[in-house]
Every structure is written in C-alpha cells, then in structure tokens.
C-alpha cells in the first residue's frame, strides 16, 4: 500500500543543526551570567523553544511529515499551552 520513501537527511544538514544547537546552548549559558531581571527567563525559554524546534523539525523530521502529524503536534502543544496558561487565571489573581 504505502511505500513512499522518507526523506533522508544528509550528514551535512544534521551537522549544521548540531552546530546551531551547540551555539544556542552557548548563548543561553552566557546570558545566564548577566542579571537582566525578568528578561532572563524569557530569553532562556525563547532559546529553549528554538532549540526544541530544531530538534523536532530536523532530527525528528517533523518538517517532512504529513498533515496528520504536523497538525496533531500543534494540537498537543496547544493543549499544553492551555493547561499552563489557564492555571494563571487562578494563580495570577489570588490576593
């Protein structure tokens, strides 16, 4: 029935992604040595999200998957987002 060949990622591409990941790791460690107040957590999480996206899109070949997987992944993240953010209707508004 289904014999579509999955896209093969070249060593070069994988190596570039690893380099990017290591660079981002270096940046996030470096930034942690400076006190930027509330921005520290946002930068750290922003970089983490970028790294996670690279691993997902390339190492886990999400970039080359079909609609079903891409949409369901977004849906899962959305559910997680709701779980976390809706907690704050409670916690952010307590006396």
């Amino acid at each position: 029935m289904d014999s579509e060949e999955q896209h093969i990622l070249s060593f070069k591409t994988l190596g570039l992604i690893l380099a990017a990941l290591l660079l981002l790791t270096g940046i996030t460690i470096a930034v942690s040595y400076f006190d930027l107040g509330i921005f520290n957590i946002f930068i750290a999480l922003g970089i983490a999200c970028t790294k996670v996206s690279l691993v997902l899109l390339f190492f886990m070949h999400l970039k080359y998957e079909g609609k079903a997987i891409r949409r369901s992944f977004i849906g899962t993240i959305f559910f997680l987002f709701i779980m976390i953010s809706f907690m704050f209707w409670d916690y952010a508004f307590r006396h």
């Binding site: 079903a68 849906g75 899962t76 559910f79 779980m83 907690m87 209707w89 409670d90 508004f93 307590r94």
Partner: protein, 541 residues
C-alpha cells in the same frame, strides 16, 4: 451455498485452540467480547455497592455498615464505575468490535497493542481487587483522592491509584490505536465526511483519551511519591498548594467525562436514524460539535473548584467557558430530535434506551448549567444535587447509551436475538426506577444535604427513603435486562444480517462476522445514512 465461518470458529493468529484462542488473540472482535465480560463483571459489583450504599442511607443512623466502611464503599463505587466501566466500556467493547467494520477495515492498525490494552485493563482491575485486602484497607478518600487526606490517610492509597494509573495506560493505548486506524485503515473511497457518526465520536474521544490521560497519570504518580517520600509539593507548611492538586486532577477528570459521554452520543447518532428510517439531521453539525466538545471540554475543569479557594477571576472565566461547552451538546439534541421528526419510526428496545438517553442526558446537562453558574454553585457544591447531576449524565447518559448499543449490536455480535417483551419491561423498570432514585437527590441537595455523608438530619429522611425504593426498582430493571440478554444464548433465536435495516457497513456482513469482517469487497454509498434501499425493501421482523 456454503457459509463463511464466523470469527468464533477462526482464531487469529491461526492455530490457536481453546482459551489461548482468546487470551492470545489479535482479533478486535474477540478482544471486544473479552472486554464485555470483564466490564459486566465490574458493573455487577459496582451496581451492588451502589445499592448497598443506598440501603444504608435509607434510614437514619447505622443501617447495614459502619461509617468507616461507608467511606471506603463510596470510594470503591466511584473508582469502579469511573475507571473500570464508564471510561472504557463503550470504546473498548462496542468501539473495538465495530470501529474497524464501520470503516471497511479488517482490524485495528495495531492488533497486538490492542491485546496489550486488554491485559493492562485486567491488570488494573486485579490491582484494584488486591488493594481491597492489602494493608490499611481500601481508600476512604472518594474517587477524587484529594490531598492532604489522600496523603495522610492510613488506608492503602498508593496501590489503588497505581491501579488507576495502569487503567489509564490501557485507555491511552486504545485511543492511539483508534486514531491511527481511522487515519490509515479507512476504505479508500470513504472520505472524512462519510465516516459513520459512532466512529467519528470515537475519534474525538480518542484524542481526549490520548492527551488528557497523561495528566492524571502524573498526578497519581505524584500522590504515590508524596506518600513515600513526603516531599511536600501540596503541603502548605512546606511551600505546596493543595489546590494545585485539584487543578491537576480535574484537568484530566473533566475531559474524562467527555470520554464517557461522546461515544454514548455516537451510539445515539446511529440508533436514531436507523429506527427513524431517515438520514441523521445535521451530520456535519454532529461531527463538528463532537470535536467542539472535545476541545472546549479541556477549558472548563476548574468549575469543580469554585469553592476551593482559587481566585474569583478563575471562577468567572471557568464559569463562562462552562456555559459555552453546553452549546455543542445542545446542537446534538436538536439534531437527534429533528431526525425523529417525520421519520418512519420503529420502536425497539435499542431505540427506547436512546430516547431515554436524550431525556436523561438533557436533564443532567441542564443541571450542570445550574452548577456551572458561580452563584448557585456555592449553595449546591458538595451536596446530593451534584450526585444526582453526574448520575443523570453518566448513568442516564453513558449508561443508557451503552444499554442502547448493547441491544442494537447484540444480534450482530452473537448472531442471536433477545426477547423484546422482557427487554421492554427491563427498560421501563430501569428508567422509572432511575427517576425515583435520582430525582429525590436533586431536591435533597437543594435542601442542603451533603454528599458522601454517612448520616443525615431528620428532614432528609423521606427523600432518602424514596431514593432507596427507586434503587430497588432500578436495580431490578438492570438485572432483568442483563438476564434477558444472557438468555438469548439459551434460546438461540438466529438473528439475520440486518435485523434493523441499518445503513452502516456492519449491517452488510454476516451475524456474527467472519474473521476478516468482509466476505466481498465492501462498498459504501455517497452518504452513510442513505435509507433509500431500506425503505423500498424493509427488513422483516
């Protein structure tokens, strides 16, 4: 004309004999029946415990059990009914049997994973039984296991929540299997908008099973960790917030009620058109409302927590979303009723239960709106009103839909027909008994009687006595229903392939079906509820 052997005579994998043909099966139909007997076993126990609880409450003071036993009894009743029956029953039994057939497939996508799901279900049940007798006694916390009591009580909480954890894994894997099956094993000619509504309801349910269950898994793991390592994550003295436990618990347990009811609604969406000989009104509306309920249902969990101490803003927001989630359910009720309108109606036991569902679930849903409003909730939270509400929705809803589905698909699964007269008597007894049993609880709750209380003030005596009478009638009806279905095996009245004149693919195969479900290549019409052929050639009963 040689008849193809049924799946009973053809084990899969081939070559298995005796009990191994069941315990090692890959056949979704055998698995469905193995779930059926397990669930009926738990159902008899769960109903019996409920019955004993209500006998205890019929009279003031101690009637048949002590207060300590009462607390464990209502916990056990809840744990069995929710984790071992209401959540798994329809997907694991009727879903497993009919989802592949409705899609034109020969099995689910991962048959061996399906077998694993069954073993996990049985393991969870076994652990629950063991936890009855292991040190400390069965938990007395209620099925909600609220902290700090669940962490502090001497009763054996870890084993029971671990059993629930295992049952959750079973549920997740079933959801995973159904989603993959629906995506990949449909007939090539069957587009998304041609999938029968029962299967659609299982699709929406499967997503909730898959995404929501891990939340309760981690929550129960944390309870076990707290019991053994005493970290203090929910202990206010050490930085924790007990309300956070409630948030985590209900983030699963509210979507869980949609796991319970969506498949039930799917059954009703099959039964109503078949016995109206008329296409379902608003097929697309039902599809989108099922998905809508699944999504919106994950936005409302804290309506179980208005009085817990959380912020007023949260109370407001969750109340707002709770009102919104009622809309897609109402859409379905309108669709069902519109289907019946000007239909060519044939009364059968299956239709009776589905009609009862529509009424009982509507009452349950409307009472839910009352609870969802923040003001009234202060008055009725923690009272018998809530007990009535969730029995109307879960028993009157999921339960009655399950009974309807059993009566609808029984001839297909077993190739035999049951006695109609006894079925109707049972159905009427169950429904009338249900009303006498649970309506008093609405009133008792409004009058202020708390739930989970072993004893009560004299003004509640009449209501509790009446509820007890209702229990006796209802349980008699349920018993008669089960006996009647089982008698069909003794009377062996052969059932035709399509006794009701249904349109979906399961009615195009023999009763019971062969191993690979289809003898010839299945063909579907443009629309799954096209009754034109049936109307020109109705089945003879």
């Amino acid at each position: 004309m040689a008849t193809t052997p049924s799946f009973y005579d053809t084990p899969s994998p081939p070559g298995l004999v005796g009990i191994k043909a069941w315990l090692l099966t890959h056949d979704h139909k055998r698995l469905a029946l193995m779930y059926l007997w397990a669930v009926l076993f738990w159902f008899v126990i769960g109903v019996s415990i409920g019955f004993l609880l209500r006998i205890e409450l019929m009279f003031i003071g101690r009637t048949i059990m002590s207060a300590e036993v009462y607390n464990s009894a209502f916990t056990l009743h809840g744990v069995i009914m929710i984790f071992l029956i209401a959540i798994p029953a329809i997907p694991a039994i009727l879903g497993n049997f009919f989802l592949p057939i409705q899609l034109g497939a020969d099995d689910v996508f991962f048959p061996r994973l399906n077998l694993l799901s069954w073993y996990l279900f049985m393991l969870g049940g076994l652990l629950a039984i063991v936890s009855l007798f292991s040190g400390g006694g069965f938990p007395d916390t209620g099925w909600t296991f609220y902290v700090p009591f669940s962490i502090g009580t001497k009763h054996n909480v870890p084993l029971t929540v671990f059993a629930a954890f295992i049952l959750g894994m079973s549920s997740m894997l079933t959801g995973l299997n159904f989603i993959t099956t629906i995506h990949r094993k449909r007939l090539p000619s069957m587009g998304w908008m041609q999938i029968p509504l029962f299967t659609w309801s299982l699709y929406a349910t499967a997503w909730v099973q898959l995404l929501a269950t891990p939340v309760i898994s981690i929550t129960f793991v944390l309870v076990i960790i707290e019991r053994f390592f005493n970290i203090g994550l929910f202990d206010p003295d050490r930085g924790g917030d007990p309300i956070l436990y409630e948030h985590l618990f209900w983030t699963y347990s509210h979507p869980a009620v949609y796991i319970m009811v969506l498949p039930g609604m799917g059954i009703v969406s099959e039964v109503i058109p078949t016995f109206s000989r008329k296409a379902i009104f608003g097929y697309q509306a039902i599809v989108y409302s099922s998905l809508g309920i699944a999504i919106a249902g994950s936005l409302v969990w804290a309506h179980h927590m208005y009085t817990s101490g959380m912020s007023d803003t949260a109370v407001f927001v969750f109340s707002l979303f709770t009102f919104l989630v009622a809309i897609p359910s109402a859409v379905k009720v309108f669709s069902w009723v519109s289907t019946l309108y000007k239909g060519s109606i044939e009364m059968t036991p299956a239709l009776f239960y589905s009609l009862a569902f529509i009424y009982l679930f509507s009452v349950g849903g409307l009472s839910g709106l009352l609870q969802g409003a923040a003001g009234p909730n202060i008055h009725i939270h923690g009272t018998q009103f809530i007990v009535a509400h969730f029995h109307f929705t879960v028993l009157g809803g999921t339960g009655f839909a399950f009974f309807s589905g059993l009566h609808y698909w029984w001839p297909k699964m077993f190739g035999v027909m049951y006695n109609f007269r006894r079925a109707y008597i049972a159905a009427v007894l169950t429904t009338v008994g249900f009303m006498f049993h649970f309506v008093p609880m609405f009133i008792l709750g409004l009058m202020g009687m708390p739930r989970r209380y072993y004893d009560y003030l004299p003004q509640y005596a009449h209501g509790n006595f009446l509820a007890g009478i209702g229990a006796i009638i209802m349980v008699s009806g349920i018993l008669l229903m089960l006996i009647n279905l089982l008698l069909s095996f003794r009377n062996k009245i052969a059932a035709p392939d399509n006794p009701w004149g249904g349109c979906t693919l399961e009615w195009m195969v023999p009763s019971p079906p062969p191993l690979r479900n289809f003898i010839t290549e299945p063909h579907i019409k443009e629309y799954p509820y096209d009754f034109s052929d049936i109307l020109t050639n109705p089945p003879k009963n």
